[in-house]
């Protein structure tokens, strides 16, 4: 093939024809073209106009959407281009809440960086809109609309990669904004807290909910015993915050830093991941034996769990009942370790360092509370830990590594690879194969499920039985897979789901840039640790064995179920929506009958039930004593149509043909 060339800044450049766009050609030459809205993993949006280059005719063209062609001549930094970029930045800054010194994103903000680099010295325009309220409703994400530059990165991330689509543009022209559906607080919409929007936001418009203050407070409280757990994916990423190589293991430096801050105990979440493997794989084997509720979906990813609760009520019983490693860790320490060490439970403060923003939400879930306390008290992300290290002035580079506390600091390689997509499946296989075959497993590497592709499938013949696995990451991929499972186009026995692309290593709490390149290195880092570890199977972790001996007896025992398992329920997809009633004003002594007209119940005929009830009330002349309401989702979807009489949810729903009966048996007696 003949070589093809184009010209960039009067320099001949060879093009292969495989480059996505001019931007890539120029960046490959070592010239940085600034962008806000271009990300190789998202669709081309073309809105920020920062990547404009000048063509031969002196016109500016966006390099993100232009394919290189032989003979093309472009320039990347002419006066016209520089003036345009500077003006764009000036225009953005004018409407931007410039509280840079106190902004979370300061130092990591693309707008700030480019404004400095492009030499924007002065902003000649005043803010056009009054500042809007900051949305702090979510446990994981803070949204500050005053810093949004409307690049739409979060919108595309949320819909294209995560398939959730909670963020969207509203209005147009000067009033355009990026908001959750109906401009509701994030906590009231479908958000699964994955934090991918935060990772991609170029400014401080979307940030991680800061929980470091809570942690500092606990650390400085002499009464509190602070127990810290560090998740697997944190160790291979935190170095990036300190300009270290991606993927290297900084677990022990992190331990040292936490100890310097005053943590009483620092352990490894990989330990409780080992525990999860044993519990979850046992649960799986039981299901396989009984042949029920298959495929078993993993439940260690809180983003996925929330997604399933909001979108897949039909699959909830297929989710493993195991708590995630983070929550198991909390339960073990508060229920077992505290007693053992004679620490009053109320004085024990469990902090998790997680690559994940959804873990913050998970820790606050009411389901994660037994014996009237939460398993985990505070969750900070990798990025927040780095911030704490900087805040304390610790020179991370010069830090002497310190070892984890024992005995829960010990973990198997299986627990470590939990941090990457495919890791949970592989860890479970290392357990399940041994249990099913009754023979010692020597080859522990299941390479079929490794790698960062969105969907991996494998079938293993174990002791004459085919076990079909799917490993999926990214919720958009998950959505597609679930559709196929629902349509019975595919069938599996075990499905590992991670909400974030590539698994926890690509979590929303990880350092930025959080791109596929960095994820590859982080993933490799975890497999390297596994390769070097002496114990590679969870069941061989001596601490785990001890835990069962001293406390839990056997996997899936009643004790284990009480402490380490949980349950899931339907969750409203959107909150704060009620439909006005048809009744008159003086509603004081009325019986309120609420009928759900959410999608699920509606399709089951709830609207007809409601109409019939209204008709019956009229017939019996009790219209003035009953007030009818249509409502959205009473969180009883599987038994719909759901009806609530005053405050009592009629649990088994009322089918259309039962309306008359329901009216006679439930409504009429109440009226009389």
């Amino acid at each position: 093939m003949t070589h093809q060339y184009m010209e960039v800044n009067n320099k001949k450049v060879e093009i292969t024809g495989n480059e996505k766009n001019i931007l890539e050609v120029v960046r490959n030459m070592g010239i940085e073209i600034p962008t806000f809205c271009y990300h190789s993993e998202l669709s081309v949006y073309g809105a920020c106009r920062m990547c404009m280059v000048e063509d031969e005719r002196g016109n500016l063209v966006a390099s993100c959407s232009l394919k290189p062609q032989a003979g093309m001549k472009i320039k990347t930094h002419t006066k016209k281009i520089m003036d345009t970029r500077r003006m764009i930045l000036e225009l953005l800054l004018a409407n931007h809440h410039q509280d840079c010194t106190t902004c979370e994103k300061s130092g990591n903000c693309k707008l700030q960086e480019l404004a400095v680099n492009m030499g924007v010295k002065k902003v000649r325009f005043k803010p056009r809109k009054p500042w809007q309220d900051i949305d702090t409703s979510s446990a994981s994400i803070v949204r500050d609309p005053n810093k949004c530059i409307l690049c739409g990165d979060c919108v595309r991330m949320c819909s294209e990669v995560q398939g959730v689509g909670v963020l969207g543009f509203i209005n147009r022209g000067p009033n355009i904004n990026v908001v959750p559906a109906f401009d509701k607080p994030i906590a009231d919409v479908d958000c699964v807290n994955c934090g991918q929007c935060v990772s991609i936001c170029p400014t401080g418009a979307l940030t991680i909910k800061d929980d470091t203050l809570k942690v500092w407070e606990a650390l400085s409280d002499p009464k509190k015993k602070v127990v810290v757990q560090i998740a697997p994916a944190v160790r291979v990423a935190i170095g990036e915050e300190f300009n270290h190589t991606e993927g290297s293991n900084y677990l022990y430096k992190s331990v040292a830093a936490l100890k310097m801050m005053g943590a009483d105990y620092v352990f490894d979440t990989s330990f409780s991941a080992d525990l999860t493997v044993v519990e979850e794989a046992t649960e799986f084997l039981n299901r396989v034996v009984k042949g029920e509720k298959l495929p078993q979906f993993t439940s260690c990813c809180p983003g996925w769990v929330t997604y399933a609760e909001k979108n897949c009520p039909d699959l909830l019983s297929n989710l493993s009942s195991c708590k995630s490693p983070q929550q198991m860790f909390g339960a073990v320490f508060k229920k077992f370790f505290a007693k053992k060490m004679n620490i009053p439970t109320e004085d024990m403060y469990v902090v998790s360092v997680m690559p994940c923003t959804a873990k913050k939400f998970e820790a606050e879930r009411p389901e994660m509370s037994t014996d009237s306390y939460q398993d985990v008290d505070a969750v900070i992300t990798t990025v927040e830990l780095a911030r704490m290290i900087r805040k304390m002035g610790i020179k991370f580079e010069e830090l002497e590594p310190a070892s984890l506390d024992m005995p829960f600091g010990f973990s198997s390689g299986a627990g470590v690879i939990f941090g990457t997509s495919g890791g949970v499946a592989e860890a479970a296989l290392r357990y399940a194969v041994e249990k099913l075959s009754g023979e010692t497993l020597n080859e522990v590497n299941f390479r079929e499920v490794r790698g960062l592709e969105g969907l991996k499938e494998a079938t293993f013949n174990i002791h004459g039985k085919d076990i079909k696995l799917a490993v999926v990451s990214g919720l958009a991929n998950t959505q597609q897979l679930i559709e196929k499972i629902r349509k019975k186009e595919v069938s599996y026995d075990f499905v590992e789901v991670m909400a974030c692309p590539g698994g926890c290593i690509g979590g929303g709490g990880q350092p930025v840039p959080n791109t596929s390149e960095t994820r590859v290195l982080r993933s490799k880092g975890l497999y390297d640790i596994d390769a070097k570890s002496t114990v590679k199977k969870a069941q061989n972790n001596p601490t785990i064995e001890k835990l069962y001996d001293e406390w839990l007896k056997t996997p899936n025992s009643d004790e284990a179920h009480y402490a380490l398992h949980t349950h899931y329920g339907h969750k409203k997809r959107i909150g704060g929506m009620e439909i006005k009633d048809e009744a008159k004003e003086n509603a004081n002594e009325k019986i309120v009958i609420s009928v759900c007209v959410g999608t699920n119940c509606y399709l089951k005929g709830s609207y007809d039930v409601l109409q019939e009830l209204i008709g019956l009330a009229r017939e019996h002349g009790i219209e003035d004593k009953v007030e009818f309401k249509g409502t959205f989702c009473l969180e009883n979807c599987s038994n719909g149509p759901s009806i609530k009489v005053s405050d009592d949810l009629h649990k088994y729903g009322v089918q259309k043909e039962e309306t008359q009966k329901f009216f006679n048996n439930v409504v009429l007696p109440r009226v009389k």
């Binding site: 559906a181 006005k580 009633d581 959410g598 999608t599």
Partner: protein, 167 residues
């Protein structure tokens, strides 16, 4: 053009929305026609209807809301029983449409910063070009076009509009 319904629309008729969706289908490209039909029915797009449309058509709620707020034809706020549209296209503008708008605003007692009277009686909208430039300035009340409108006409138009209530 606009159906006159009682102002306090109670329990919204989901059956109607279901019918509309069945008529247009659940293809993504049917979204705008569906919203137009709902708006035609209710004179605005109630939030719960949008939420219902989103689930029924399998489109994220945020996107449905995004479409509903992008186009000038849609309103997520209840509109008045009567709709007065004053054209502010170029031809109308140079023939004094802005004064006509002011006059309507005053005579209809539209509160400052709003487009609809508090009792949901009338909504005043400015529209960009009705294509009736020869009649500039043009006004449309409940679908009826009035051309070459001057100050005196405004009062007359309002009287006619009010008279239609009795019919």
């Amino acid at each position: 053009m606009h159906k006159t319904k009682t102002v306090q629309e109670p329990l919204r008729n989901f059956a109607k929305v279901k019918e509309i969706i069945e008529k247009y289908g659940t293809e993504r490209s049917a979204l705008i026609p569906v919203l137009q039909a709902i708006q035609g029915e209710f004179r605005y797009l109630p939030q719960e209807m949008l939420s219902f449309v989103a689930t029924a058509m399998g489109i994220p709620q945020a996107e449905v809301f995004g479409v509903a707020t992008f186009y000038a034809q849609f309103s997520t706020q209840p509109k008045g029983k009567h709709i007065v549209q004053v054209c502010d296209g170029t031809a109308c503008h140079v023939r004094g449409a802005s004064d006509i708008i002011k006059k309507f605003k005053k005579d209809l007692q539209i509160p400052e910063g709003k487009t609809t009277t508090d009792d949901l009686y009338v909504t005043l909208e400015t529209v960009s070009c009705l294509g009736a430039c020869a009649l500039a300035p043009a006004v449309v009340v409940d679908g009826k076009v009035y051309g070459n409108v001057n100050f005196e006409d405004v009062a007359r138009i309002i009287v006619t509009m009010k008279e239609s209530d009795d019919e």
